[in-house]
Symmetry: D2
């Protein structure tokens, strides 16, 4: 069922950066399809790693072992069999990956250290559904160190690093995930996390909303004991707002996707680097002197434009929002309609979150060798489907690189088939994942410990103080020294010395 699969790819990729809502996804949870085709690329860290130099690439993914993990009998060295992973024997390799990740996630390690006295998550029973990577493992083991019990499934059928899953299982975490799950496996794994005798979750950590959806659908009574949901992705957050509007949200939920720190790192700072990386790895092109049009001047567009300008490209911007348009002007970019420059540009980059921003008509008018790629939230921005016509020839020249050839010989260089360039052809630095994971951990702590009544059955942004705390935990990486307010200054400003330092509407 191709079409639904495609939609899920849309959904799943969107974890990273859209700031706006998608009207055609406004089905409620109970209407959503439950069939196959799950989020094949969502935050596909592993995917992109495979494409590049990532150490993950060297994994010995014994693909010759064709037995389904569900059919295997496996035990950890301590005798537990409450897990389901590809191969428990890969644990050692996975452990090394986790240890490397620990070195680059100082904030979580700092949380562990501070938690030695108090256990802010003592009694917490967290069920999680996220990508299962070394970075996630550091998060899970941190939650454990803070006192929580965890059960975990994957939010993506492809993104699980089997070795990491094995290492987690080996050290006692009930993990149900492997790379290459079927649709059926996917739901089976989730179910194994929540449907346990003698254990009932009181916290949900979700990435995409599938876990939440499953509980809503199958075990609605569980919500009586659940203190809250922490959701990371745009899609999942969107679903929660839908539930809330419909009056069906029955526990507080924390939207960590829109926290300041996470947003800036996922979008502006990360994309400023990954646009260059993605283009270089796929095309080896030179940036200097190239004419580029960037569609959309949100955080992602701002990052792309700044990077390319700095490398000597001449950058044009398209926008629909006059405020962002004015920002583009003040930052030194010509604001144009796509049609005005489509014939002359060497590169077209979409970062709008919108659909059909680059149409077949645009593609027809591009010059020979024009590169087309997408940094936005989904694969809808470039109308790739319109290129699947008989008169055009597709030629795969490298991994993630297709030449689409017109009858007159003109070639368009299409990257990642219009999917997210930064996820498909670049990597997400661990530092960015550290920001996200720390935000998730703090959101869990906040929801779990909040006094009755602080949060109602609604969707909340992370309290600013928490957001500031996430940031402060990452400052030591840069040997950055924060200034403290004196008492006199705090009084003058009417602020608490420990923050929060800004009103909620502050824009950073």
């Amino acid at each position: 069922m191709l079409s639904s699969k495609k939609k899920y790819i849309v959904n799943s990729n969107s974890g990273i950066k859209a700031q706006i809502q998608f009207a055609d996804q406004k089905q409620e949870f109970n209407k959503r399809p439950t069939k196959i085709g799950r989020r094949s690329l969502s935050r596909s860290i592993s995917q992109s790693s495979t494409d590049s130099y990532s150490s993950a690439a060297s994994y010995t993914d014994s693909s010759d072992d064709e037995t389904s993990p569900r059919d295997k009998q496996q035990k950890s060295s301590k005798g537990s069999s409450d897990f389901c992973v590809k191969n428990i024997k890969q644990a050692e390799f996975g452990r090394r990956e986790i240890e490397i990740a620990e070195q680059e996630m100082p904030a979580l390690m700092a949380l562990r250290k501070r938690a030695q006295g108090e256990k802010p998550l003592a009694g917490a029973k967290i069920v999680g559904c996220t990508h299962i990577t070394a970075q996630t493992a550091v998060l899970m083991e941190t939650l454990g160190a803070l006192g929580a019990q965890c059960r975990w499934a994957a939010c993506n059928i492809y993104s699980t690093l089997n070795e990491v899953a094995a290492a987690l299982a080996e050290s006692g975490f009930p993990v149900f995930a492997w790379k290459g799950e079927s649709e059926d496996d996917f739901w089976w794994c989730i179910d194994r996390c929540v449907n346990v005798e003698g254990w009932q979750p009181n916290m949900i950590l979700d990435d995409g909303g599938d876990l939440t959806h499953w509980i809503y659908k199958k075990y609605p009574n569980m919500f009586k004991k659940i203190k809250g949901i922490v959701e990371e992705s745009v899609t999942g957050v969107h679903r929660l707002y839908q539930l809330s509007k419909a009056g069906k949200l029955c526990v507080p939920a924390m939207n960590v996707n829109d926290s300041v720190t996470k947003q800036k790192f996922d979008n502006l700072y990360c994309c400023r680097e990954s646009i260059l990386d993605g283009l270089k790895r796929t095309t080896d092109m030179m940036f200097g002197g190239k004419q580029v049009v960037v569609c959309g001047y949100g955080e992602v567009g701002k990052g792309c434009c700044a990077a390319l300008k700095a490398m000597g490209s001449i950058v044009y911007v398209t926008e629909i929002d006059p405020i962002c348009a004015l920002q583009a002007c003040m930052d030194g970019f010509r604001l144009v309609k796509l049609n005005e420059v489509i014939r002359q540009v060497d590169i077209v980059i979409t970062c709008t979150g919108n659909k059909n921003v680059v149409t077949r008509e645009h593609l027809d008018r591009m010059k020979n060798s024009c590169i087309v790629c997408n940094m936005g939230h989904s694969n809808t921005e470039i109308d790739v489907a319109s290129l699947r016509t008989p008169e055009l020839t597709w030629e795969r020249v490298r991994s993630q690189v297709d030449h689409v050839i017109w009858p007159d010989g003109k070639r368009i260089v299409l990257l990642a088939e219009g999917r997210l360039l930064n996820l498909s052809c670049s990597t997400v630095p661990t530092f960015v994942l550290s920001i996200t994971a720390t935000t998730q951990a703090l959101a869990l702590i906040e929801l779990y410990n909040a006094p009755e009544g602080r949060y109602k059955q609604d969707v909340y942004l992370l309290p600013k103080k928490m957001d500031e705390y996430v940031a402060s935990l990452h400052l030591p990486t840069f040997d950055a020294h924060l200034t403290e307010l004196t008492d006199e200054q705090a009084k003058y400003l009417g602020l608490n010395k420990n923050g929060p330092f800004k009103p909620n509407y502050y824009r950073y």
Copy 2:
């Protein structure tokens, strides 16, 4: 009464950029001193213009005429005497200034054009209290063209351009303002605006809150007919929030200070240029290779840092807020405590909105020829008072430039005595004032035309759609071409094709 004077300077300058609140200003309106010492430098466009090349510098300010305007009998050529300005004969010169300003305020001119059919302010009786400059005149005449009647006073005893006031009076506006008013004059002028037979205001446009305060104190009944207050300054907005909290705000108020477009232009974009301009005009220094510490990485600090980095300075940043601190790191600035670099830097710039950020101890440790200046919201950031001690010698070397000399011969170069560098030693481009004036005009239209019930007795931010409209009116200046959503795209995004395009919490 030194302390109150100082406070007023604080207040009045603050129109430009603080984003945070000042605890020690939490007196309510009826407790505030009414004595002398008024806002001597607030938005002193004229002041800075005088210091530089501005055409204002050539004004023939017949200072030999010592008669108080209050004691003069003046008539416009049409016979009106419902005004009080320095010299109605200067009208022609002022008219030329207004015409020049019109050319650089295309948004207001566009509003006039669109208003030819409808008169959205027909029936509006606006009383205003702002700086009286050529740009304000363009605003007032636009309000007139939109159907409003206006009466106007100055919000600053020094900032009135007499020629412009004369031109306004000559063309029929009841204006009560001149440069060099006394404290008594100041309140007299405001009173002449509101206390008129047969005319009662139904809208207030205020900059600093004095006009609002006066009506509250003297003519509280007037509020029965008043549909709303539009307030531009940080201080005035702060007072409104205080009133609101105290349950004493009896009409809707619009906080235009915090609208996106105005904030970005007043702070980020404007300061990015004025820091260079202010330093050059006062010191003729070379930026390349200089070590600079910028205290505060809000919008103003971001602008200063970006500009100086681009000019080849080595920039350090201090911050109290970990999120802004992390932004500084990612933008390539070493985050330090002031003490760590104070001995080595060539320039110290404050942009915090805080007090005593640069203390005497810091000043004692600076190296010879270190330049110290303030881009923040008030004159409190540098503890200038601590330099008024007998062992230090002050030497005025140029307008706005003092050498403070230590016993061992070390000199500190203090600019503008610690007041705002960008207002004292640079100019505010008309384009920035155009953004502000357009925002004010739209806020007046919105409040005046809002259906009953849309706004309650509270303080509101400008609706996002209005903010976007302000931006769109300024795009033609840059020959910028906005893209329009197709119906299909609008539906996909769940947006109206005409905006608003972003959720309220969007950070730009």
Copy 3:
């Protein structure tokens, strides 16, 4: 005699930055007109200072004293009358200016210190002809400290700071210069420097070639004792090359204009800042979003483009040289012909050293309010003469700012009447002048001490080692720490540990 006057203005301004030769100036020395119309703006530091904040602006230039200095009897406090300045009583004020300049010219002060043991210029009799400013005074007093005797005249009839000249005379330097000399005064002053009983120069320091010319014409026998000429300006250097080609150069000459350090500072680094400064001081414009065309991408153009791009302008470049053109491309600028963008740009800046780069036809096509200015080497780049036609109205709106108004109301904003913006409307930082003065001092030392035969009757560039030495003397200003080669490394690279470090053709 307008044409010769114009040529002189060309010549005199050109001290700063042309890199190419002017065919129509190829008259030899003895053919050049000796009449009026002298270099009215050459390096007019004083001029620009007057326009801005410079302390020079506060000079009490007792203009009521109309007596020619040539007719006055003046004596220094030590009884000397071997000088001719405006007013010896202004010496104290001038001394203070010199002391301030000393603080910013650490390289010359370091030379003085090192010279305490040895006197590398002992026996040198230097006759100089340069602008007479505080910075020149520091140079002259340094030459004195190094053992030289000096006599000095001004190379420009307007640029002398009378107070500084007075201070020099007071401390014993035979100085013959004042602001506002006539043509006849100019040559009289030069003659007084060289035509002295019992004193004959053995070194020449010239800026523009007039002093050299005078000696060639009047006292050719003097060259028998002269060891060399140091020449700073493009024009003077050009003349020397002409003499050399014609076989008439009878002593070695040092072209200090083309030394690396001086070139980079006079052009790239200085213009990067002064373009912004000059535009701001004259127009108060905002740079963000403005469309600018920069004609010429040499060092000056590179500096202008970098600065404006950093401030958010959109910059186009025109070039005739394909190598510089390719550099512009790689630096991110669209390379266009002027015609292609002339209708759309907000600012036109010329930096070509060429003539009629901006023609009347271009001016006719510019849009309303377009700003036109020149950063190149002369006033020929914009065809200003073509604007002096009856149908156009000129309106002087500020010092250095003219509106030229077309019959249809279109206004062009012409800065400094097409003369050098950076000299007319900005200032030259003392640091840049320090580089130049140090280069001159070292060139004098080199020529004076060179063993017989090292230099022949030709024009030489400053030896690279000297150039490096100038640079090294300026590093402490930036607290910059140079690395020293180890013996092993020096051997590996085949270099002397003390330099020179690069082959002559190295491009930096």
Copy 4:
């Protein structure tokens, strides 16, 4: 013989960027060792391509075929057997690569077009020794189109792309090269190029000097017919200068390594991009906020610094040359000694062309996870040998990435074992290779067609006009429009309208 091996690696890599001379290589040609250890990485385009996405990576390098090409009997489809390549059957694949390269080398294609009428190389018999890649093939076929006969060997035993060699052989070029030659093969191939019955070269195109050396040693009489040598690499150029100094150079030689265009692209523009690319591909690190020290501020260092600064890194610079040091200051970088910052930096990058710039002592003091890499001209800059001690553990974590682990657990991340990062872990864009190839072609044309006497038995730089021509041929790529001088302007400037436009000492 380790030491000689190391030197050769030095030599061979140096084709890219050193600007200075190496004292310990001053052996003359006839003293040089002829043993093993040849240029293992020189311009290893193929190498780097293999490491990354390059289409070359998909080459089916039938490594199972162990027969030496020297022992095979191969024939092209046209019956020729005057070549020696790995497998003539790979020709078709190689042809496709050449066709792709043609699209990105418009300058050579333009030369071909212009040559259709005249054949400027008619009669030329060129023997070449360069890397054999698709780009070289475009060059060779262009030389053919211009009328030349060519015979070719590889200048590096690893860099030949077998498929491309096959395609060249198939289309009739006598090519003698394959990937993985032995030392003996290397010289055998060269000999097969020159030692032919009935054919004697009259032009040499060399990259590294080995071919020239061979002819000098074996066939000195050949020089009687040779019109000139074109040499591309630093090492080869150095050898030619040695020969010239020793009076042994018997034909004119053209140093194309130091032509302006080639230098800027090989160094500044190329490294500005490849430093980011190389670091990303190997480490997936984030640049923002990282502290970096760049050793050396030549063209390469300037490129690295600019790129990293733009990405938000904090960059320190070390230099030995005070002029470059002052440039670093003015560009906004703190100039330090390596010791001052070695404990705090996250990345160390060498670009000096020197040896032992990073010593074991430095390495001992670096912090955990510090990344160390080399962008300079050889593998000598980091003292990698000093890390081969028993107490340190080496761990290969990815291709080109080693962790060197101290006893206390500290890890240093060493890239490419200290060899050139940009060649080992990045790619050289075709555009840069196009610049080089065009320069080579024009140098051959110039030397071949120069009238008797224009060039003597010396080493020459490419005439500026040719350099400008290379640049102009590459402008259309950027849709860049050059301005032409009018007759009047050309006369004014004393220039020919077609260039050259600058004096020889111009620095660009």
